[in-house]
């Protein structure tokens, strides 16, 4: 049970309107990721769902029940904070057991549940430690443990991995995905890392300036971005946007080509340019090319494609992979 519906949700802080009428449907068991640039209102939206902020206008429905005015504790949601928000003076076991204690559960039952959660999260050896004596990844797991013992109807994560180093981030990403598979509980996950969004989500919600730009599965957003913003935000490196004569030829104000959708050649092609920087990653090579009459373009070549600074290369956008956008930024 964890279906959440937002109906025209608006949030104002004093004069400033931060969320502009958001409508969103989240199905039970879905893994939904909110992405968007910094300051677009992802955290605010999550906190509105959690009940940590009051909604200025609109409705939030959880499991068919109007939760707009319910206090956070009664919404049956669990949140994992970016700062983990562990209670520093309590041991790991007491941290994890805290929500159960607040629910008035008896000691033996709490103990059993804490042991269960610790086993799932590999924390059994650390139950007596204080959070200050744990590594970042372990703290993260304690925070997740505190969330799962309550058996909430949905989990809310606010950039939970942003304080971890790159390798650990990949690990925890997998662990959270596995947790989602095994619990099959709704998860709402905020991030501005679009790799996390693409790899974890059943459904991505792209936000900008407090509005939803597009909602869809990762591949849907990759294949059919609704506008220039989504096209530029989803995919890494970002899509090349070209305006002017080249765009006009295709009957659009702007055309977009992803770096991975170029045919590269040393001899001939549609666009001719000089290589500025070539980044060799082994499997791939990213070329930053200054194309005549078009401007700077990033293109992905296979690792074997030889190119160095100053070389002349030819780029041809693949057939049917050119995105066309009108004057209002919407896809044509």
């Amino acid at each position: 049970m964890g279906a959440i519906t937002l109906e025209n949700v608006v949030k104002r802080f004093g004069e400033a309107q931060v969320i502009h009428g958001v409508d969103l449907e989240i199905k039970d068991g879905e893994f939904v990721v909110f992405v968007g640039p910094s300051g677009c209102g992802k955290s605010t939206l999550l906190r509105l769902i959690a009940g940590l902020e009051d909604v200025s206008d609109g409705r939030i429905v959880i499991d068919g029940q109007d939760a707009t005015d319910l206090p956070p504790a009664r919404r049956r949601l669990a949140m994992v904070f970016q700062s983990y928000a562990l209670y520093p003076h309590m041991s790991v076991a007491r941290n994890i057991g805290f929500p159960l204690k607040m629910a008035g559960m008896d000691k033996a039952a709490i103990e059993a549940k804490v042991q269960g959660a610790a086993k799932i999260l590999n924390l059994t050896d650390y139950l007596d430690r204080k959070p200050g004596q744990l590594s970042g990844g372990q703290r993260q797991r304690v925070a997740i443990g505190r969330a799962i013992v309550r058996e909430p109807s949905a989990f809310l994560f606010d950039e939970p991995l942003s304080n971890l180093d790159a390798a650990l981030r990949v690990n925890m990403r997998l662990e959270i995905s596995e947790l989602h598979q095994s619990l099959a509980t709704t998860m709402i996950y905020v991030t501005h890392d679009q790799v996390e969004a693409m790899t974890m989500a059943d459904k991505i919600v792209v936000l900008q300036g407090g509005k939803i730009e597009q909602v869809g599965s990762p591949l849907e957003l990759y294949r059919n971005p609704r506008n220039k913003f989504v096209a530029g935000f989803i995919g890494s490196p970002a899509m090349n946007m070209v305006e002017g004569a080249e765009a006009a030829k295709a009957g659009a104000t702007t055309i977009g080509v992803r770096p991975e959708h170029f045919v590269m050649s040393h001899e001939s092609g549609q666009w001719r340019g000089k290589v500025g920087v070539a980044e060799h990653l082994g499997s791939d090579t990213f070329l930053h090319v200054e194309v005549e009459g078009v401007g700077p373009v990033t293109a992905r070549a296979t690792g074997e494609f030889e190119a160095r600074h100053g070389d002349t290369v030819f780029l041809t956008p693949e057939e049917g992979r050119v995105y066309r956008f009108g004057p209002d930024g919407l896809a044509l």
Partner: protein
């Protein structure tokens, strides 16, 4: 200060201050110790002679001593209770956003800057006075008999006066500690189903433990030697009802001109203060460890 080298450098840098402090402390203490073994009365100059522990015997068997000791402990305990409980309460109030917060905070701190003699005089003559005092006026306007605070409950009155002066200090320290409490923690507790009381007990209070420890330790040091408030208001009376150790030493030295016994009293006070300090550190010192 991680390496041996920086440790040595740090020691060298600190040593002048440490040595100066040691001398500063050691010389008066040594002189007090020296006097405490002399028969030394200012009324009989030139008659000083070694008397062994006689001064200590006089001081400790003085019937006023156990009373003064009890009064000292009650004064310290009473003021600590009022300032810690009241300080937490006031700090939580001042932490709420409200209009004119800056001014109110400034005013709340103000009593700490009033000199003890002045505040004691104000309390004595304008608030607690049985004829002119504000409390008497309030009592009369309700048709009740005014209370003569300083003569009917002298120690309690002094506790109130001293607590009033120290409340801002406690409030200030606790307020800064409150403000350093991560709001995420409170929100997490809220989501975990904790109500305001549970949040206070399980999150706020443990977070304040360290600040409370500091407040208790510092206040205890100063409260063991409260003097001006007693001198100005009750002069230790009626009888010995509001005499504490510091005041008892004063009566020995300057009212009876007996420097020897007063010094012995001073040494006793130092020992007492250390006993209290050891107890305190045992009880709450672990809060200061990280």
């Amino acid at each position: 200060m991680a390496t041996l080298h920086t440790k040595a450098a740090a020691r060298a840098m600190m040593s002048p201050a440490v040595i100066l402090l040691l001398i500063w402390m050691a010389v008066p203490l040594a002189m007090t110790l020296y006097f405490s073994f002399l028969r030394y009365n200012l009324l009989m100059p030139g008659m000083e002679e070694y008397t062994g522990f006689l001064n200590y015997e006089f001081f400790l068997t003085d019937p006023a001593f156990p009373i003064a000791l009890a009064n000292t402990l009650m004064l310290v305990g009473g003021v600590l209770l009022i300032t810690v409980v009241g300080g937490v309460f006031l700090a939580i109030l001042l932490d709420q956003p409200f209009w004119g917060q800056g001014i109110v905070r400034l005013l709340a701190i103000a009593p700490f800057f009033v000199m003890p003699t002045v505040s004691a005089l104000v309390w004595k003559n304008m608030l607690m006075h049985p004829v002119n005092g504000l409390f008497a006026w309030i009592a009369r306007s309700f048709g009740a008999e005014p209370v003569d605070w300083l003569s009917s409950m002298p120690l309690f009155s002094i506790i109130i006066i001293v607590a009033w002066a120290w409340l801002p200090f406690a409030t200030l320290i606790i307020l800064t500690a409150l403000q350093s409490l991560d709001s995420d923690q409170k929100e997490a507790a809220e989501m975990d189903g904790a109500g305001p009381v549970s949040i206070f007990l399980h999150i706020t209070l443990p977070h304040l433990a360290r600040a409370l420890t500091v407040v208790i330790l510092i206040e205890t040091i100063f409260l063991l030697s409260v003097f001006a408030e007693i001198l100005v208001t009750t002069s230790g009376g009626p009888g010995n009802a509001s005499t504490n150790i510091a005041y008892l030493i004063y009566t020995q030295a300057l009212l009876q001109f007996d420097v020897g016994t007063a010094s012995a009293g001073g040494v006793v006070a130092v020992i007492l203060a250390n006993i209290v300090a050891i107890f305190l550190i045992r009880m709450i010192g672990k809060n200061l460890e990280t």
